[in-house]
Every structure is written in C-alpha cells, then in structure tokens.
Symmetry: C2
Subunit: 395 residues, 2 copies
C-alpha cells in the first residue's frame, strides 16, 4: 500500500471512516463465505438480531449493501410520491443531502436551512407544519451533523412532527452508537445509519430502522425502486435470505463489532465513554486557545469542532497534521474549508486518541505561527480523565 | 466464526461469492484509510484507471457501493422513463431480475423469456424490435446466466439492437473477467458487473460501464434517482472524489485483485485459464455419467451445470458435499432446485479446484446410490490438463 507520508505509523482519527478494532480488521481476512451456506446464515441472522439493540427498537433493521447515503435514499424512495409535501430541516452538509434526495424523488420540498454550526430549531418545524396547506408526508432531519459536530434535539422535533400527524426520518449515520438515540422510546418512525462510524466497521453497509407505520406508508406507494425497497428487504431478511448478494465480509466485520459494543462494553458504557471523550476534546480545544464551533452541548458526543485562528493559514492545518505528524483529522467542508478543525470521538476511540489529536493539532498550529504552550490540549484532556477517574478505553 | 461442518478445512467453490486470493484477503485487514486522504485517493484513482481495461473500454467505469444488482438498478433508473418500451431477453434467474427492475421503474415491458438452460435467441429480439410500435428505449439481457451456466451471444444481440436504433444493456456480473467481453470492439453501450465473481473480491461493489451515448440518454431523463445517478458518479469520479463514502476496504481489495488480473496473469491468460477449467469441468461431468445442462458452448467459461440423476435424491447433493466433505458448490435455483449441480470456474480457480469439485460431487452421488467408478471425474479433468500441457493456476 502506498504511503505518501513521512511517518509510517498512521493515526486515523476521523469521524468516518473511523479507526477499526484489530479484531474487526482481522475477521475481514478470513476466507469468504457463500451467502447461502449455514456458516454465513448464522452470522447474518445474529447481525440482524443484534442491530435492533443498537437502534433501541423492536423494528426489524433493514440492511443494504451501500454507503449510509443508501440508507437515506431508501427512505426517500420508499416514502416520497412525486408532489408530496416534505420538510427538510438541515444545519449542515448532510442535512442538505436530504434536500437533494427529496428533490430527486419529486417532493414538493420545504427546506428549513439553519446556519452551519447551529442546531435545527424544533419550533420552526412546528411553524412550517402549521403553515403548509395539506398533509406533510414526512420531515427529514439529521441527528449528529458530522460537518459541524452539532447534535439536533430529535426527541423534541419528533414530538412536534408526530403531533402534526407527519412522520420523522432521522439520519443517524454519524450518531448511532455514539450518542443515545432510543428510537422506540422517543417514537421515531425511521432512523437510518451506516456501518463506518460508531459501529466500528468499514464503509459499505447502510441501515434503515423502519416502524410498522412507515412500512405501511411505503406499501401504499409501490414501484420506482427495487434495490432499496423496504418491503422486499424486510421479507427477505425475515427468511434469513438477503434479496441481493450481501456484502459478506462486511457482515462478518459487523458481527464482531456488534459483539464488542453490546456484550463486551455494553451500549450504556459506550455512550458514557463517548461523553467523556467529547468533554476532554472540548476542554482541550479551549486550553489550546481555540474558540469552539457550535453550541456547547454535552450530548454532542460524535465530533467536536473548533474555529481555526484567523491569523494563521487554516487550510494548511489538517494537511500538516497528516503529512508531518501522521495524524489524520478532518477540516471543514464547503464554506468552512480552512475555517474549522474537527476532532472526532466516534467509535473505536480511547482517551489517548483524543490526546494524540489535540497534541498534533497544537503542533501544527505552532508550526504555522500560533502561540500556544506545548501540552495545553493534552493537559486539559488529562485533567478531564482524572476527574472522571480513568482514561476511557473501548472494549 | 462458527463452523457447522465436520471438516474444518472448507473449499468454497461457488460462482459468487467466489474464493478470494490470500493477498486480497490480507489487504482487508490493513488499517482502514480516510477516503479523502492521499493514501486512499491513490488507490481509488488506480482502481478507476484499471477497471476499464477489464471492461475493454475507453468509458469511465462507474462504481457504486452495492451488490452487482445495484449496477443493474443504475441502468434501469438512469435509462427508463415511465412508459418507455423496453425489451428484456431472459433465460434464467438473473435475466428475470431485469424484468423486475424494468417493471419497478415503470417501463412498458416486452419480456422475451427463453427456457432456462437455453440461450437468448438474437433473431427473436430482432422480431420483437420490428413488432413494437414506436421506439424501444433499451434492450436488457444477461451475458453469463449464473443460474444455468448459459453464455449469451451478446455480440450478435448487440448488432441487431443497435441496427434497430436501440441500445443494449448487458448484465455481465458473472461473466466479466472470465469470458471475453470486449465492450468497445463489440460496441455495447452499457455493461454492468460486480466485485464478487471473476474480479476475485468480496461482494459490495457494483459497476456500470456506460457509453457517452447512454450517458446522454440518461441526462435527458433527470430525477427519480440519486445514489445510482450516473452523471453525479461520473463527475465525482473524474475529480477523484466519490460522491458518497466509498467502500474503502473493498477498493483496497479490488486494487490488489486488478493488479493480479492485469499485470501478473494478464487478461488474455485469465480467459484462457477459464476456458481450460471449463473444458475440464465438462469432461468431468461427462465421465461421471451426468448429462450436461445447457448447450455445449466452448465460450461458457463461468459455470458448468449438470443434470442430477433422476434415480437419486438430487436436493441432497450440495448439502452432502458441503456438510460431509467440506466442499461448497451451488445446486439449482427456483424450479431447478434439486435438479442440477453447478460447477463454478470463475475467478480465483485453478485446476485442482475443478478436481476437488468433481471428486466431491462423485462422492456425494455414490453416497446417494449413484453408480460411478471413483476417480472418473478427476481422471477426465486430468486428461484435459495433460492435453493442455499444464494444470491451469491463477497468478
């Protein structure tokens, strides 16, 4: 594998693809299995039995061979009849994808765009629902907006949406398994996700947890989809029989990862670990002397973003961290390119990964002329861990 | 990994997922790469540069995170406007998928169904093209029909289709890289494929090689698709930028596999190896005393099917081969379940894999009461290899 970097040991600390546990990596080098043979069917059925526990639902979780966006597309393709009123409430790049999907599938789109770095305002959705003449088929929004680190209050949004007789579709690609999202307790009809973030797997599997009500709405709108059809997928899965050749090696990886999350560490402990890591990231950012980008939400446990100092060339920060120090984090996307840095804590992350990210960020900032005392970020994170009583580590 | 079989060493000899080279397996256990970082972009661009060589085309080959059926869906979604006349010419289970896709996308479907085990008759397509009043948007057919082993004469079909002013879409999921399919030389507008057959990779990537003419037709029909949109994918790929998070680990695997196919063994040698393996499989089937299922086509290099003897319980053959002898092959699908056995030679197969499949088949048949002299299948295959001058082995 080509390695264009100076340092051969690489630290991948992005919010997706996220770093993978060695056990997840090593299962991928086991011989491939025939998808109709018992050895694979066992794995397939165990994964399908375990996935709903992560979604905290009694729904069947539908699995597609796709990126997380395929899970999103399944929602648009199964729910939207051309001309339907739909509301998209976005506050970043991934929220905008809902708007693109809604338009591609012919919706009468009402797009509530909130500034990047701010959360979606549930009351604004309520106002829009009141304002629209006629029924609103569905409201689409984002749980954790990876492009900014903002976590939306989907519980409050769902109360407003369901009270108005519509259904909520939540993109939880980056939040599921990192921040608490009890789908059934909150009563959310559709939650979509992907394999490559907090679920600690390679990219290539998309998920949709669909309530019986949403399945019923989809059934009244047949056609214009095949690969992402919910009903076909649900029927096949119920028989242990994927309608298309499943991504066998990714199921093998997910089986290992789900066992780590559910049995070895426990979902509650996973959420608690993410919360401490996020707290350490926030403390480190502040100690380095950077301004946080986005609200100070203690539940935003997926990504922590910081404004880069105006006096340095911000666009150079992520590249310098990667090429000089071997630490890969993400910068800003679109109009935030060069403006922010994003510290991820999503999936297989432990305390020392946050120390590494903060320290490499500090080094790159110092190289570019920003004045910060070495060890500021690490010291603040260390202090958070000390207060917590231990350095968080995944199973 | 659970193993329900008596023998711990397993021989996976199916036509998809196919057995994977150790080098392809081992790259999957390398740490995951961030899809926007140079280390991955290098791999991504190399894969995109090499794929057209396997399709024998100057088209950009579009890659989707999906099964091979996702590549097929991309063709239906991009080409079909509701109400369009389309012809599907099918002769097995995968050909029928085209009909399901055409109906899902609202086509006015003209379905020419040929009996399973027979090839598509090009002249019948010509007659249907003449018969249909008004333009026919596209004709959809299958190159190698995995469910029966039949290889269709897509060169002849394409001449008829293009002469009538329509375009041909070929599902080459199971044939590409095993049997010769020179897309540009034959002038085929759309060829779709998947990663998990002759390309020696895990399932999870779908491909579409689309001519400029087909891209133009798709561009006149925007909307009603997003994830599988050809134009969006083409534009992203041209900038080295996948529109959705790519299945990073599968690209890493495909990079290794394409290098083996194109540089180490050479595409012509790969085809020649498959031809000798298929010849050995045909000879072995005959020597065991089974009747071949399907025509005796020397170009059908992907799967060789045989009728199972009527006097034994055919449905028990594949299970017995797998559970008693640790050799996994596929039986028949749908109405051919229990009627046929399919010997695959598609991808990372060498001569001894054919010997193993034939011998395990012989053992299972003898166990179930069929009278055959031990070594009949292996002997006939060995004789083919001797005539060929060597036992074929992949790189």
């Amino acid at each position: 594998m080509s390695n264009p970097n100076l340092f051969s040991k690489q630290y991948l600390l992005t919010a997706g693809p996220t770093p993978l546990p060695p056990r997840v990596l090593s299962i991928a080098s086991e011989p491939i299995l025939y998808h109709r043979a018992p050895a694979f069917v066992d794995i397939y059925e165990r994964v399908l039995a375990n996935l709903p526990r992560v979604f905290q639902t009694s729904n069947q979780v539908l699995v597609f061979g796709s990126s997380g966006s395929g899970g999103m597309e399944s929602a648009a393709a199964n729910l939207i009849v051309p001309g339907d009123n739909v509301i998209v409430a976005s506050c970043g790049k991934f929220g905008q994808r809902w708007a693109q999907l809604a338009e591609a599938f012919g919706a009468n789109l009402h797009h509530l765009e909130f500034e990047w770095g701010t959360p979606v305002d549930p009351a604004a959705i309520g106002n829009k629902l009141d304002e629209i003449d006629g029924p609103v088929k569905a409201v689409f929004t984002t749980f954790s907006e990876t492009s900014t680190g903002v976590l939306n209050d989907v519980k409050a949004i769902n109360e407003i949406v369901t009270a108005a007789g519509s259904i909520l579709v939540v993109d939880a690609v980056s939040g599921l398994g990192a921040a608490n999202l009890p789908q059934d307790e909150w009563g959310i009809d559709v939650v979509v996700a992907g394999s490559q973030k907090a679920l600690m797997c390679p990219p290539g599997l998309g998920f949709a947890s669909v309530s019986p009500k949403a399945l019923e709405i989809a059934a009244q709108n047949p056609g214009r989809r095949f690969y992402f059809d919910w009903e076909k997928t649900a029927k096949g899965q119920a028989k242990g029989n994927s309608p298309f050749t499943p991504a066998v090696s990714l199921f093998m990886a997910l089986d290992v990862a789900l066992n780590m999350i559910l049995e070895e560490e426990g979902l509650e402990n996973v959420f608690a670990r993410h919360a401490v890591l996020a707290k350490a990231a926030r403390a480190g950012i502040k100690a380095i002397g950077l301004e946080r980008f986005g609200p100070d939400n203690p539940d935003a446990n997926v990504v922590t973003a910081a404004w880069l100092p105006e006096e340095i060339e911000g666009a150079k920060v992520p590249g310098r961290m990667r090429d000089v120090y071997g630490v890969t984090i993400a910068g800003g996307q679109d109009h935030l390119k060069g403006k922010i840095a994003r510290i991820a804590h999503c999936g297989y992350f432990g305390g020392f990964d946050i120390i590494t990210a903060l320290t490499a960020l500090e080094m790159a900032l110092r190289d570019l002329g920003f004045d910060v005392t070495p060890g500021s970020g690490a010291g603040a994170a260390e202090q958070v861990f000390a207060e917590h009583g231990s350095v968080p580590q995944p199973a």
